[in-house]
């Protein structure tokens, strides 16, 4: 038996491992797992004051810190029956979209694009693709600025709190953001056109998807949950979502109705693509995503078009000025609350039980944990179709597929290491 070990498939966020075993030309084992040191955030907030949950859980992920902050706030507010103002909802949405723009721009250009252009890394795209890289950096810069102006910091924002914001953003800076957002729409469109031109493998794998959905808007922070077949309410999530652990992974696996499913930009497109803002909608209609897609490689296209949408949406959300408001403080100090929100990589769940102001139970389910089982299944479906290709090409294909999901193993529990066994 030949045994080949490849370590360090990079360009994903965090550390994971992939074990592949091929015997007599047949795929025997294929397991993708997370191998990051455990941090036990849900245990660390136990016994702490309810308002400390956002500040602490934000440290789960640097790339999605706004996401954890807001999900924690919303779940705590549901537990303590706090109803925030429309302005707070609007500010949270801007914060979330700002984070989405920088996350998508980073993933698409630095992690995914090098594969398609045959380069080892984002840095190797220079100097040939200087224009594209500079465009990506402009978008990242803008996303950062949004998070800084609205959230007070670029990473781990502090202005967003349970019940509202500590202060409203500086009107002068808001005006600058608005002007910059309008100017950047053409950049987002050019970036999307670039990803629409890239040749993606044409694989369709039958799978279910899951995202928030909202009749009022392209869902971000509010809505019910929707799969390919039915709609679910957030409150009873444990009736249909189940987590389980395996021997070799510090991330848990998640199933919906007992089966694997997809969350993220492609899942959001499958459910809500007709609610995109005009320029994003026009791009979608001339893309392979005009119909429902179960090609995981289309995730990159969905992210690219979603960046256009997010920029258009931010322009609208920044138009109305912000006024001074008092935060809404809870009048009750015990309760149970669940919040599901759409973050760059899919649905993020936070759940808290609070007694006399102290957290007694916390459960967090991250997007990557939800995608992990389907990623495994996709790999099992994909590898046998490419077994006659040279090994290097198979590995590149595997990496591209994994990266298309934009997994974040910091969130779910660190590197992707391929253990390759051939018999």
């Amino acid at each position: 038996m030949t045994e080949i070990t490849l370590s360090h498939i990079t360009k994903i966020e965090g550390h994971a491992a992939l074990h592949v075993k091929i015997d007599k030309g047949k795929l025997k084992t294929c397991r993708l797992t997370a191998v990051e040191g455990s941090r036990y955030f849900e245990g660390l907030v136990k016994g702490r004051n309810y308002h400390e949950a956002p500040e602490m859980t934000s440290r789960i992920c640097g790339i999605c810190s706004c996401a954890h902050t807001i999900a924690a706030q919303k779940a705590v507010e549901r537990a303590l029956d706090v109803h925030v103002t429309d302005q707070t909802k609007r500010l949270r949405k801007i914060l979330t979209l700002g984070e989405r723009i920088r996350s998508h721009a980073t993933h698409l250009h630095f992690l995914a694009l090098p594969d398609y252009l045959g380069k080892a890394s984002g840095l190797d795209l220079l100097p040939k693709y200087q224009k594209e890289i500079e465009r990506a950096l402009r978008l990242m810069h803008f996303g950062n600025k949004v998070v800084h102006v609205i959230g007070g910091r670029e990473i781990h924002p502090v202005a967003a709190q349970v019940g509202g914001f500590t202060n409203i953003p500086d009107p002068q800076k808001v005006a600058e953001l608005l002007e910059e957002a309008k100017k950047l729409i053409p950049d987002t469109i050019k970036a999307a056109q670039l990803f629409l031109k890239l040749k993606t493998p044409n694989i369709q794998q039958g799978f279910d998807w899951f995202s928030l959905t909202n009749p009022e808007e392209y869902a971000v922070l509010e809505g019910d949950l929707k799969s390919s077949k039915k709609t679910y309410t957030q409150e009873h999530y444990l009736d249909y979502i189940e987590e389980y652990h395996t021997r070799d992974s510090t991330a848990n696996f998640v199933v919906k109705d007992g089966k694997s499913f997809m969350v993220g930009a492609l899942a959001r497109f499958n459910n809500n693509r007709h609610q995109l803002m005009p320029k994003a909608l026009a791009l979608m209609k001339h893309s392979p995503l005009k119909d429902i897609s179960t090609n995981p490689f289309h995730q990159n296209i969905a992210q690219a078009i979603e960046t256009v949408h997010s920029m258009e949406d931010i322009v609208e959300l920044l138009k109305e000025p912000f006024k001074e408001e008092k935060r809404i403080l809870p009048t009750q100090h015990s309760g149970h609350g669940i919040a599901a929100i759409e973050v760059p990589r899919g649905i993020l769940w936070h759940e808290y039980r609070i007694q006399k102001g102290k957290i007694v139970y916390c459960n967090i389910i991250t997007p990557t944990a939800q995608n992990l089982l389907l990623m495994n299944e996709n790999l099992k479906g994909y590898i046998p179709t490419v077994l006659d290709l040279p090994k290097e090409e198979i590995i590149l294909g595997i990496e591209k597929l994994i990266r298309a999901y934009d997994p974040c193993f910091s969130c779910s529990a660190h590197f992707l290491k391929v253990d390759w066994e051939e018999g």
């Binding site: 941090r39 016994g47 790339i63 220079l126 990242m140 202005a159 660190h414």
Partner: protein, 253 residues
């Protein structure tokens, strides 16, 4: 022709990638930076299978698994200068708070106990290797990281800011949050962050670690006088930097 540019490596162990992102988020300078130094390794952007010799290594993250310890020791061996990048490497940050939390709080989550993956007591990197310089903060100020890279490559002596957060906070004309009866750790926390949190009227949680000359008993007395319990005060101080603040455990056992 052999390149004479200094070599820099960025590495990560258990953490959230926020400190690495902070470096990348110097969007305007990052392309320029690649002309001044050779970035040998950068997690998830530009990584190589082996840990190579470098002039300066920046390590993000805390030690939470035997693998973390192995990687850290290998990086230390290959680096002329090792920099602890950010709060996890410096104090073990929020994940290091587990050191102070009763085990039954997270026992439910210890599924790997049954399995192959090992978790060890969370700790800052200087518990395992010699650290030459620390860039504090969760995350550090992004300008601070890029300045450190340039200065280290020019072989300039690096200095840490030693005054408390209150100095910058006052300079920024912020309202004092202690006067608003909030547990703000500004008086006992190293500044250099330009008081970024208190600028947004959010209290300092001490992510940059304690100042060397803090008057802890007086600070605790002040907070107790405002009606806070010893437990609330203790838990707030140890959340980000308990492992670098042994005094607090003496005063508030």
């Amino acid at each position: 022709m052999k390149s004479t540019k200094p070599t820099v490596g960025f590495y990560s162990i258990t953490g959230c990638a926020g400190c690495l992102l902070s470096f990348i988020f110097n969007e305007k300078e990052i392309v320029q930076m690649t002309k001044l130094v050779t970035i040998v390794s950068f997690p998830f952007i530009h990584e190589s299978a082996e840990i190579k010799e470098v002039d300066v290594a920046f390590m993000e993250g805390l030690v939470a698994s035997p693998e973390d310890e192995e990687v850290l020791k290998e990086v230390r061996k290959k680096a002329k200068t090792l920099v602890a990048l950010g709060a996890c490497a410096h104090t073990a940050c929020i994940p290091g708070y587990r050191h102070f939390v009763p085990k039954d709080s997270y026992a439910r989550l210890m599924y790997e106990k049954l399995h192959k993956i090992k978790t060890i007591e969370p700790g800052p990197i200087d518990k395992y290797v010699q650290v030459d310089f620390t860039i504090p903060g969760c995350p550090p100020n992004k300008r601070e990281i890029i300045k450190s890279v340039v200065n280290l490559c020019l072989k300039k002596q690096l200095k840490n800011y030693t005054s408390p957060v209150c100095v910058e906070c006052r300079r920024n004309n912020n309202r004092c949050l202690l006067e608003e009866n909030r547990i703000c750790l500004g008086p006992i926390t190293r500044g250099g962050c330009n008081a970024i949190c208190t600028n947004s009227h959010f209290e300092c949680w001490g992510c940059r670690g304690p100042t060397d000359d803090m008057n802890l008993p007086a600070f605790i007395e002040l907070l107790e006088g405002k009606g806070f319990t010893k437990r609330d005060i203790r838990e707030r101080i140890i959340a980000f930097s308990g492992q670098k603040n042994p005094k607090v455990l003496e005063v508030l056992p």
